[in-house]
């Protein structure tokens, strides 16, 4: 097991290195210059001023040289300076990460719990009315655009009912746990609903397949109750493919919740990465994307470890 983890860690480092170069090159190949927007909005931005700023920000150097500088500093623990925020990258990254962690972890756990319950219930009587209802809900969750769902929630719970705040992370001058919770409810529910549909379909399909297996028939023949058969004998096996899907989703959640973050004004990683790419903030975009890659790699590693626990026949 230790050897496996070490090997995967080394692979992860190699992937991160390759990704850093690819991301840096792709951002560099995008049209335009980081200072274009400034030129547009600033009457004082003469060609001389722009040339001076390019030199200060190192934008007058070739792309490969800028990358090498970044890499050298990154290896020494310095992820560089965010041009748009005028702050070290870590100082921008950490608050965004914290916001995302709260949002993602809660919504992920919520959607996994919901998907497990709904997927199992649906799988018990495939084709029955309960299965039909759950499948309908799951497809609705998959199909409904997140921005529309978010907007509807704002209109119902904030505009009409005034139960919840429409956006933000806390009221100014409050910041209590209750206040934070109120601000989290709608974005968490939106994200959870969007993810639950897909997860439910996977759990259902995997459970239906597992419940038809020989060892389940044996477990029933041995006189085990239906609850024990489903939760102990079937669920553990059914989880193996589900874990892969969830692990992959977990990684993308860290960078992919852009719409939810934008709609509910949650300053998280998705929004930060998107803004930094648009504004050609190389250091920030690169660090954010690498972090999302790292989360994906780590969650996959955990998924692999979980396989061993779920199915002792799998050797790591």
């Amino acid at each position: 097991m230790t050897k496996f983890i070490l090997r995967r860690c080394l692979q992860a480092l190699l992937v991160l290195f390759v990704m850093s170069f690819v991301i840096y090159a792709l951002i560099g190949l995008m049209p335009g210059d980081p200072l274009d927007l400034m030129i547009q909005s600033n009457p004082g931005a003469t060609p001389e001023v722009v040339a001076r700023l390019r030199a200060i920000y190192g934008l007058d150097q070739p792309l490969y040289l800028r990358y090498l500088h970044w890499l050298w500093d990154a290896l020494r623990g310095d992820l560089g300076f965010s041009r748009t925020h005028s702050q070290p990258v870590l100082e921008v990254l950490i608050p965004a990460l914290w916001t995302t962690c709260k949002l993602m972890l809660i919504s992920f756990v919520l959607s996994v719990i919901l998907a497990m319950v709904l997927g199992i219930v649906a799988a018990l009587k495939p084709g029955g009315w309960i299965d039909g209802l759950i499948s309908l809900g799951a497809f609705a969750g998959i199909s409904v655009p997140v921005f529309w769902l978010a907007l509807m929630m704002i209109l119902v719970f904030a505009v009409r009912l005034h139960w919840l705040p429409a956006s933000g992370i806390a009221n100014v001058g409050d910041g209590s746990l209750l206040d934070h919770t109120r601000h989290l409810i709608m974005p968490v529910v939106t994200l959870a609903l969007a993810n639950t549909g897909g997860f439910t379909r996977f759990v259902r399909a995997s459970m239906i397949e597992t419940l038809r297996m020989d060892h389940i028939r044996t477990a029933r023949a041995k006189g085990n109750g239906e609850g024990r058969v489903v939760l102990v004998h079937a669920l553990r096996n059914a989880l193996i493919p589900v874990v892969t899907v969830m692990a992959l989703s977990f990684g993308t959640l860290f960078s992919g919740a852009l719409l939810t973050e934008t709609m509910f004004a949650q300053p998280g990683m998705g929004k930060m990465i998107y803004d930094s790419i648009l504004s050609n903030d190389f250091n920030l975009a690169l660090s954010g994307l690498l972090f999302a890659t790292l989360v994906t790699l780590v969650s996959n590693l955990f998924a692999d470890i979980a396989y061993g626990w779920l199915d002792p026949r799998i050797s790591l």
Binding site: G32, S41, G44, H85, S86, V159, A166, S167
Partner: protein, 551 residues
């Protein structure tokens, strides 16, 4: 049991319900966040808007578009003797501008604002390593004499008409440490405006930044050292909601009070729709601004080299109706780049009202006759067809584009829409002048700003100037160049006017650009907010925030 559950649900609902909103707070919703707050670095519209609550520039244009002093006792001009022409030691001509700072000005830690701060800011602003990029560059002043704590003379050279317009000062007693770095860009990394904007003493306006949640909101509270009129609101919050549909919903839910038009917030069509649905809930203001929406023509295109074709393009479009239908008539049709509210505006220019028949006549005279498919052709059989680009994803521009396309088609002109994301359009296509026909976008300028950047021949973007200019139309007219030089050097407003009139006349006659309209800034204002006055130019409404109050 059921009753207990119901009571529990009610209790939870009550606890979750939004608290009643007190009017000593004002929450403003914007669609962008100001990621850094140093007033002299990387100025953007949102940053300038935010800063106007807390730090005052030396001078600003007021709601009547008159230049006024905010930090000084009176505006120095040649007429009042505050500015005097001089010959510098190297023999060049210059102008000495004397400023006297208001005696009661203080930074938010109680330290007086003095000429030490002016000298510090000027010195830092003239240091190429500092990374300053403010609207009114400090290096216009080649030297500076400090007379006393409140009076100083800036020696501006060469002579420029904006000699008496200057931006925000920086507190020497706080920022001096950040300016100690020797390497280029050190100040950018060390300035407390970016690193710790809630530091006491950075601000000299009616409010100070007391909370800064990156990407989310900025909180202002009254500046205890402010000597001017006492601001009414105990707290002003600028909340960022990037999605404008969500921003609109936040207005309706009461989570935000005000959507400003002078900062990025709701678009004009969204405000018109909001007004139609909720006519009595808010006050709606549409303030014509300096943002000039227009279409640049690629003059190298053989068809566009003919003035008659360019004129026909303008005669063929009904700008008045377009503005009425799309924007409820709120955006004034433009004749040139100069806004009618600008002191240098002239109405004595060629105008091109909607005359489709005249457009067809001009095209026929230029050798373009309608073909069987309705599109004009010349003797060689070339179709009168142009690529027409604008910013992809900008709903309003795409709508305008469709209207214009259909109107030109009636006049036998084909336009092929080729939209690009803003980043590509401005980063490559206009910057490198690679468009082949028409390109539609908006351009913001300051009151009385010289058109040098967009019309002077040395501002045509080329590899030689590192694609630094914004003369995307490739205008290279010695007469225009001479007029720009003359307008920039003429200090007497009365003598400036005829030069500007000449420039506008040439612009309208040559039709290198198709003027569309001046964008109106759409404001959604709570009915209880009093004293709020939009300006329509780059010195935004919060510069007079101390006049705002709740009824």
């Amino acid at each position: 049991m059921k009753l207990r559950a119901l009571a529990g649900a009610l209790a939870v609902t009550t606890a979750l319900a939004a608290p009643a909103f007190a009017k000593d707070d004002l929450v403003i919703g914007v669609a962008q966040f100001a990621p850094s707050l140093n007033p002299n670095i990387d100025p953007t519209v949102i940053k300038s808007y935010v800063l106007d609550f807390a730090i005052r520039p030396m001078t600003a244009f007021d709601k009547d578009w008159k230049l006024t002093c905010l930090l000084c006792t009176s505006l120095p001009t040649v007429d009042n003797g505050g500015a005097k022409l001089e010959t510098l030691k190297d023999g060049s001509k210059g102008i000495a501008v004397t400023y006297t700072l208001k005696p009661d000005l203080k930074w938010s830690d109680g330290t007086p604002v003095t000429t030490k701060d002016l000298a510090f800011t000027w010195k830092l602003g003239t240091d190429p390593k500092s990374g300053f990029s403010n609207n009114h560059p400090w290096d216009r002043a080649k030297s500076m004499d400090v007379v006393d704590d409140h009076t100083a003379v800036l020696h501006v050279s060469p002579i420029v008409t904006d000699y008496n317009q200057w931006d925000q000062l920086l507190p020497a007693h706080i920022e001096a440490k950040a300016a100690e770095g020797k390497e280029p860009g050190d100040y950018l990394k060390a300035t407390l405006y970016n690193r710790a904007p809630t530091t006491v003493g950075l601000w000299n306006g009616p409010y100070v930044v007391s909370g800064y949640d990156s990407g989310s909101q900025i909180v202002f509270t009254p500046n205890p050292a402010w000597a001017g009129a006492k601001p009414y609101f105990k707290r002003i919050v600028i909340k960022t909601i990037e999605n404008t549909a969500a921003l609109s919903a936040n207005l309706l839910s009461g989570d935000i009070d005000l959507a400003p038009g002078d900062a990025p917030a709701l678009t004009i069509d969204q405000v018109i729709a909001l007004q139609a649905q909720n006519p009595d809930k808010f006050s709606y203001i549409f303030k014509p601004s300096l943002t000039y929406e227009h279409i640049d023509l690629k003059i190298e295109n053989p068809a566009l080299q003919d003035l008659r074709v360019r004129q026909a393009l303008l005669y063929a479009i009904d700008r008045d109706t377009m503005v009425k239908r799309l924007f409820n008539g709120m955006q004034p049709v433009a004749a040139t780049w100069v806004n009618p509210l600008d002191p240098n505006y002239t109405k004595d220019t060629a105008t091109y009202s909607y005359q489709p028949d005249k457009a067809k006549q001009l095209l026929a005279a230029a050798g373009w006759k309608p073909g069987t498919d309705g599109i004009c052709r010349n003797d060689k059989g070339d179709r009168l067809s142009f690529e027409f680009a604008t910013t992809a994803g900008n709903k309003l521009r795409e709508l305008q584009e469709q209207v214009l396309q259909s109107q030109w088609k009636v006049a036998c002109v084909e336009t092929v829409i080729k939209n690009e994301p803003a980043r590509t359009l401005f980063g490559e296509t206009t910057k490198k002048r690679s468009f082949t026909g028409l390109v539609m976008y908006g351009w913001s300028s300051a009151v009385g700003e010289s058109p040098r950047k967009t019309q002077f021949s040395d501002q045509i973007p080329t590899a030689a100037n590192n694609f630094g200019g914004a003369n995307y139309i490739g205008l290279n007219d010695p007469k225009v160049d001479a007029d720009i030089i003359a307008a920039e050097a003429e200090l007497e407003p009365a003598k400036q006017k005829p030069i500007w009139a000449e420039m506008q006349k040439i612009y309208a006659e040559q039709v290198r650009v198709l003027p569309l309209f001046f964008r109106a800034e759409p404001y959604v204002v709570p009915k209880w907010l009093k004293g709020f006055t939009p300006t329509g130019h780059g010195d935004y409404s919060p510069l007079w925030v101390e006049n705002w109050s709740a009824e």
